[in-house]
Amino acid sequence: MRPQRLLSCPRRILARNIFLNKRICNNRGFNIASQNNQTRMFQTTSQPLAEQEVKKEESHKEGPMFNKILIANRGEITCRVIKTCQRLGIKTVAVYTDADANSKHVRMADEAVYIGPSQVSESYLVADKILEAMKITGAQAVHPGYGFLSENADFARRVVQEGFIFIGPPASAIHAMGDKIESKIIATKAKVNTVPGFNGQVCDAQEAIKIAKDIGYPVMIKASAGGGGKGMRIAWSDEELTEGFRLSQDEALRNFNSNKMLIEKYIETPRHIEIQIICDNLGNMVYLPERECSIQRRNQKVIEESPSTAIDPDTRKAMGIQAIQLAKEVGYTSAGTVEMLIDAKKNFYFLEMNTRLQVEHPVTEYVTGIDLVEQMIRAAAGLPLSIKQEDVTLKGWATECRVYAEDPSKNFAPNVGQLETYVEPSDSHGNVRVDSGIVAGGEISVYYDPMISKLITFGKDRNESINRMIEALDTYQIHGVRHNIPLLRSILDQPVYRKGDISTNYISEHWPQGFKGIQLSEDEHFYLIAAAAVIEMMAARQAHLGHNLQKPSDKVYQVKLDDKEYSVDVSVESHGVVIAEVNNKKTIIMKPKYEVGSTIFKSVMNDKVNVTMQVVKRTTRSIKMTYQGTDFELKVSSPRNAELGKYMPYYAPPDTSKLVMAPMPGAIVSVAVKPGDKVTANQELVVMEAMKMQNVLKAKSDGVVKAVHVKSSDIVSDAQKLIEFE
């Protein structure tokens, strides 16, 4: 342990800035408390004294809570925990790396400790550094969030040994549930239903094939220590099993430092349902309504909701009781989640238990009104839960979308970069919640998970919750990185999803060839085209500096979308009505709510359809708009300019067909070819690791390798040349 390292420059600078801001704020009497949490810069003294005293009193009544908590995590979950701490009057300590030095969680916390380089293996995963940070800041307890050290039993044990409090279950429970094989054995003992499979670990592919033959294909290969879909693959044949086993084992080794694998029967069209439990140290245990997490991609959850359309009150109760049985068996405390698979006949099987706060916990918080982080802190402080089983009711329906920086139309390839524009949706009635760890100008870095935020909406029923989600997604402005909103938007819009007819295979069943972007209906197409022309007209009217009467009020525009040209006759009528006639046949009467220069365009179309679009960028020749989460580039010009525009030269981009370029920034794991090698199409060339996922880059066609520009363990940037063909 090197305290010098922890005390090195950035932390001091931060402290200095905080100090300085405090001085200036005090001098100027800023009303700091009224700012929202993004203005953390000014929030050092943010807790108004009166409020702090109230909190102290409250906690005094019920015995001492904590003065200071360290959150051993980053991103949105750290921000989320800090919010509850702020409400409870508990001081917070964040930890950060080089890449995170300027991030939201660091700004939100009262103190921040620098814990080293950006790689998680040298920072967030190093228990020693976290413990040292607790010592120097005087934090009494640590909240591990999810991921990183949250399910590391050794860490939990050491925290306690060093005299601190771990806000989570006891190390023994983490250990027992952390290993999938062991947890299955315990579950069986606790009389919890389990999936048929092989109760033991598998060491190599040969053995895996043998077992698969026994229990029958399809089978699921899982890293015993895994989670979050990493190191997890489905195999339908011996070949797939061989390749999948190798890749999964590799990933497991890389991510969890363990190559223990297990195999079980893969249940087809299952639904993934989980039960949240919360327990205190005094033996009180409460289960909360289920969460439906069936919408997944690459075995990672994308859309979650609570409750589930598949669960009736009886099943809910049966699942809850089994979850509590399991918790009792391992002596569980704090928050935890029992994941189950449900088949079409409502049979449920124990999958695994997550001994931490789950990513999707907000849906449960919405429908129950319980702050799970608060309950975890209470439990850790030795206080009883503030709720009883009979208090738990369903108050409505909540939906959560995980917004990722990834390209859903390119097999969910992660996307990194700076968020040039980032505006979160909001709702004055509190029915929209955004849990994010990022702000405008922030960066989605290669080092960490590409999740941008969790968007959660609440409604009195499922439909209301989904409608709010669609509205929220339509106004969510994210530019600079690709994101999965088009996919989320498409799923929510589908009648099948609306009916609640979903399974974990939903995405692959609906888009067997992969998601290829949103398909607009004909009407929607016209709305988009008309909107672009109307925006152009409004802009032209605003730019016109001559006499008001000279402002254009009736104009024809040529709009080009996807190589198709449309002529749009826009005329401005009175009472804010604009009529757009597309191609002389389709007339759209619009009531646009739009101010030139603003980013949201809303309009009622033909008195019946409400449309929300985003105006991303307007240049002199084109408008970039976002509609249903998808970007569209429309060229809008006068018919004459469109005619003259045809003379403009086109410069072909350089030929890249003979090149293999890095699809994203990352590290090279291995290079399978050398100059002079003959390769056939689909042959493996390079394995790259980015965002903790391995990507195999394959040859697009047959050819001969001319040059190899990288070697294993090289760090490459986006679009860097890797291999050249002759």
Binding site: F42, G597, S638
Partner: protein, 553 residues
């Protein structure tokens, strides 16, 4: 080839005129009838004259002939008239001098006459505001400048000065018309003189949309803005062929004087655009930021962007590490109306940002150090770039807003030998002589002489602000501590750096002296600037009377 085509179209015209007159002759020589000798009735005469006029106009419109116009299109360029059409409001163009022809009779030039003589001139409107335009026609004698061609340009320039409206010149010319000799050169000089007279009176914009070589370059060079089209335009004093024979240097036109050369390396041009459409439409955009003349206020557009919009992202745009770079655009865009920023010279001396934006619909000139290029230092190029920009704003009543994050002047022999003293002084001079409203925001560093230069209070800054992250001092802590050796015994270098940092690396010391009017919460910057611009609306300040100041050129 060029000449052949010209003469053919000429013959065409002559033959048409010829046949009319022959027919008239024939009619006259018919045998006597009872009618008096035939006469051309006045209306008929009128009609035939009108026909002749129309024929000349048609020919003028056709420029160098359809083939050459097509060739212009093949090169990805618009014709001289099409360019005007795109640039101006629909049907607003009024053309002058379509009938003007050259008067040269050397080298058989008298046999090749095209009405209009290679340049289209006139006036029209851009978004309803008056502008004078000339557009050189490459299809007529390669757009070369003759005595009469120059006279046409001079005419609209004189008109523009008379009524106080900007001039936009579209350059697409092979150079001087060699056949005319010194007449052509005289023509250039007439234009030059007018450029100089108009400078600071009306905005002058040059669009280089084809070749512009030799002496021709000096007319655009003296205008306020030069925009170029990528791949199809170039400017140089001496072309590659002469260069090769004289200095054996072998370069292409594109390398020597293409748009990227002039916007990134030489700093001759202010913006580069991808094609003809873009340059013309963007010029329209720029036009809405500029007043018609120095007697007028810049144009006000209605704005829906709330004046008190608080921008939270500004509160954390400055990195916690004082040496970490950040993009100053992320400071500018959130503050100005709708994030709309028209940058001038974005490719040259990137360590300083210059450009136009609007606040509450009123144009402002923005100058900002760019910490993510060369740490935002002032060097020779950035000083020159910003100085000229400041002077234009001052001349045309555009308020100046300066964002400061400057670690000082760039040290080194290259800079000293290059005359950083002389060039740095230009920026200082430009700021100091300004009489328009000046608002300054120090976002982070303001070190040394560069602090003074960047629109400081001491140079008559009207409102000077600092963000809490500002550090105003003679130099950074590390350097300063090495010079100020004294300290308490036993104090380490680090301790002394810290005490220096606490004392100077804050806005407090400057604020105590009143050099900073207030320390602003960054998110409130827009609101404050909008307020101040309103306060300063009637600002009146005059420099001492003099013939002119002697800026260190």
């Amino acid at each position: 080839m060029l000449h052949r085509l010209c003469s053919r179209s000429l013959k065409l015209r002559q033959s048409r005129l010829f046949t009319t007159s022959v027919r008239m002759l024939e009619e006259q020589s018919k045998p006597a009838s009872i009618l008096p000798p035939p006469r051309v009735s006045p209306p008929e005469r009128m009609r035939s004259l009108q026909k002749r006029i129309e024929e000349v106009k048609d020919q003028a419109r056709l420029g160098g002939g359809q083939k050459r116009l097509d060739k212009q299109h093949e090169k990805g360029k618009l014709t001289a008239r099409e360019r005007i059409e795109v640039l101006l409001d629909e049907n607003s163009f009024k053309e002058y001098d379509m009938f003007v022809e050259h008067r040269c009779n050397e080298f058989d030039m008298d046999k090749q006459v095209i009405p209009g003589d290679g340049v289209v001139t006139g006036h029209g409107t851009i978004n309803g505001r008056l502008v004078f335009v000339f557009s050189q026609d490459f299809t007529v004698f390669g757009g070369s400048l003759s005595e009469t061609h120059a006279q046409k340009i001079c005419k609209i320039m004189d008109k523009a000065m008379l009524v106080g409206a900007p001039v936009i010149g579209i350059n697409d010319s092979g150079g001087a018309r060699i056949q005319e000799g010194v007449d052509s050169l005289a023509g250039y000089a007439e234009v030059f003189q007018r450029n100089v007279n108009a400078s600071g009176v009306i905005p002058q914009i040059s669009l280089i949309m084809g070749p512009c070589a030799g002496g021709a370059v000096y007319s655009p060079a003296m205008t306020d803005f030069i925009f170029m089209v990528n791949h199809t335009s170039y400017m140089f004093v001496t072309g590659p062929e002469v260069l090769k024979s004289v200095t054996r240097e072998d370069v292409t036109s594109e390398e020597l004087g293409g748009a990227s050369t002039h916007t990134a390396t030489s700093g001759v041009a202010h913006r580069m655009f991808e094609n003809d459409m873009e340059i013309l439409l963007e010029t329209r955009r720029l036009f809405n930021f500029l007043p018609l003349s120095n007697q007028e206020e810049p144009p006000v557009t209605p704005s829906s962007d709330p004046r008190n919009r608080s921008e939270q992202s500004l509160n954390h745009v400055i990195p916690t590490d004082p040496n970490a770079p950040y993009d100053m655009h992320n400071v500018i865009r959130p503050i100005v109306d709708d994030g709309d920023f028209f940058e001038i010279m974005p490719g040259f001396a990137k360590n300083i940002i210059t450009g136009y934006a609007k606040m509450e619909g009123k144009p402002v000139a923005i100058i900002a150090n760019q910490p993510c290029e060369l740490a935002g230092v002032l060097d020779i190029n950035s000083s020159i770039k910003a100085a000229r920009f400041v002077r234009f704003a001052n001349a045309f009543n555009i308020p100046i807003i300066t964002f400061v994050d400057v670690p000082g002047f760039l040290p080194g022999t290259a800079q000293e030998y290059g005359g950083i003293i002389r060039h740095g002084a230009k920026l200082l001079f430009a700021y100091a002589e300004c009489t328009v409203p000046k608002i300054t925001v120090i976002t982070r560093k303001a070190y040394g002489g560069a602090y003074d230069v960047m629109s400081s209070k001491h140079l008559r800054g009207d409102y000077n602000y600092a963000w809490p992250t500002a550090e105003i001092a003679v130099m950074g802590p590390e350097g300063a501590v090495k010079i100020i050796k004294q300290g308490i015994a036993g104090e380490t270098q680090k301790d002394r750096e810290n005490s220096y940092r606490n004392k100077f690396a804050t806005p407090l010391m400057a604020a105590r002296r009143g050099f900073i009017d207030d320390v602003l919460e960054p998110s409130k910057t827009r609101e404050r600037i909008c307020d101040d611009l309103k306060t300063l609306k009637k600002k009146h300040l005059e420099n001492p009377k003099k013939k002119l100041s002697n800026i260190p050129l």
